[in-house]
């Protein structure tokens, strides 16, 4: 997280706000609710108290405006800049402006007013932008389900460094805020791994590391920042080379992703591959180009699907340990490259030679994401 130079903050805990005008995109009641909720996420975890006033000068004056709207920081029409807010201070300090040229929404069909307002009020309280891609205070917009929204640990640490924690005794303690995965975490494990047009994708919680073969660094991004229409967290993924798309699996559904777009007609049910309905979750999936088979791993078993015949091979499932000597009984993720299958289990990866049918090497997984 970051603060503004001079660690500017309000020198009081009771802060007033006033909504000066409304957007025609959503009802004024909804705007009131979105603003109230967006302030509440900050007051829930600090001693701050927000009071709405309806006339006079409030600490946080909230308004919708387009293009040049009176503060010499013009907006830019639809998309691009969505809103801005001023750090804590008298006068314009704390004021928060939303670009009226955007389509504001309470859902996902436009820019969600609650999510943008929550971010901007972070600025109005003294937070600058964070480099943590999982933080609310990250500069770019990514839709997230409002009902499941939680501040990240980075956001909580940043605001509490300014104002301290809430002094109220909460009856039921709040769950731990979500943390952004660390590439050097010795206990790191992957949810899914897949190639995509020459790059490698390593999925973990709401994120994935994207790594280009020639680049030592891997870029950490929110899954929904890239693909808003697939689940925030996935169980398995594989690249279907024949049909040039990425398949991502979550629960008993799967999506086909082509570049940035989810292909029409998805999600579909994994039953279509011939996987029995007793299987509630796929742990790993890997496509083997030389045989055109896609293997699905669930628990201590796996299935083999023939992409050419578009049918499950006979006699499956098999036990993993029966067919893959040296591989753990269960796996988290897998992908195939140049005749090897990389299996991932916890912090370890197993390099398996398909032709020789044996494990050649066991390594730590952090190296894939630049550590």
């Amino acid at each position: 997280y970051n603060h503004f130079p001079g660690t500017i903050k309000w020198k009081k805990d009771k802060i007033t706000y006033r909504i000066l005008n409304y957007t025609p995109d959503i009802s004024s009641t909804d705007v009131d609710t979105a603003i109230w909720r967006a302030l509440k996420i900050w007051s829930d975890i600090t001693p701050l108290k927000f009071t709405r006033i309806f006339e006079g000068e409030a600490d946080i004056m909230i308004s919708f405006g387009a293009r040049e709207h009176g503060d010499n920081y013009p907006f830019d029409g639809a998309n691009g800049l969505l809103a801005h807010a001023f750090p804590p201070a008298a006068g314009i300090g704390g004021d928060t402006h939303f670009d009226e040229d955007e389509t504001w929404t309470m859902g996902s069909n436009g820019y969600n007013l609650f999510l943008v307002a929550a971010h901007e009020f972070g600025h109005a309280l003294g937070l600058a932008h964070s480099r943590d891609p999982g933080a609310l205070m990250f500069p770019t917009y990514t839709f997230a389900s409002v009902n499941e929204f939680r501040l990240s640990q980075d956001d909580v640490s940043g605001i509490q460094a300014l104002y301290g924690a809430s002094n109220e005794i909460k009856p039921n303690p709040r769950p731990q805020p979500p943390k952004t995965p660390e590439k050097c975490d010795p206990y790191l494990s992957f949810d899914a791994v897949a190639g995509l047009r020459g790059e490698m994708l390593f999925f973990k919680d709401r994120f994935f590391w994207r790594r280009h073969p020639q680049m030592p660094e891997a870029q950490l991004t929110l899954i929904n920042s890239f693909w808003p229409k697939i689940p925030a967290k996935i169980d398995a993924a594989y690249e279907n080379f024949e049909r040039d798309f990425l398949v991502v699996i979550q629960g008993n559904k799967y999506w086909a992703v082509n570049g940035y777009d989810v292909m029409p007609g998805y999600p579909k049910n994994i039953r279509r591959f011939g996987i029995p309905s007793s299987v509630r979750k796929i742990d790993a999936a890997v496509h083997i180009r030389t045989t055109s088979k896609t293997l699905f791993f669930a628990g201590d078993q796996y299935w083999s699907f023939d992409e050419t015949k578009r049918a499950m091979d006979e006699g499956y499932p098999h036990l993993i340990t029966d067919d893959w000597p040296g591989i753990p009984a269960r796996v988290d993720a897998a992908f195939e490259q140049h005749g090897y299958i990389y299996f991932f289990r916890g912090p370890a990866q197993f390099l398996y030679n398909i032709r020789e049918q044996r494990v050649l090497q066991i390594d730590r997984i952090n190296q894939w994401v630049g550590c």
């Binding site: 920081y73 809103a83 600025h123 932008h129 480099r131």
Partner: protein, 88 residues
Amino acid sequence: SSAVPLSEIEKNEEDWQLAQTYLNRFYKLKDSSAGFASKNRNYVSKSSLSNKIKKMQEFFGLEITGNLDSATMGIMEKPRCGVPDVAE
């Protein structure tokens, strides 16, 4: 050698324009050094632009190349907050 198609030149020009606006807004692009004189108020030296691109790439955890590669352009095209990333 074949001439670069006009559309590609225009695309590159567009990207540079977008990048300059973006970096000026969020990374204090205008070179504030006293001796910096330029005829064109918006003229920005290539090296200054490249340095600001590096700052932006570092902020977003991208490969620090100083070039307008696709990952960098991808971030610049995303909807975002108007507050600068490098706070004044």
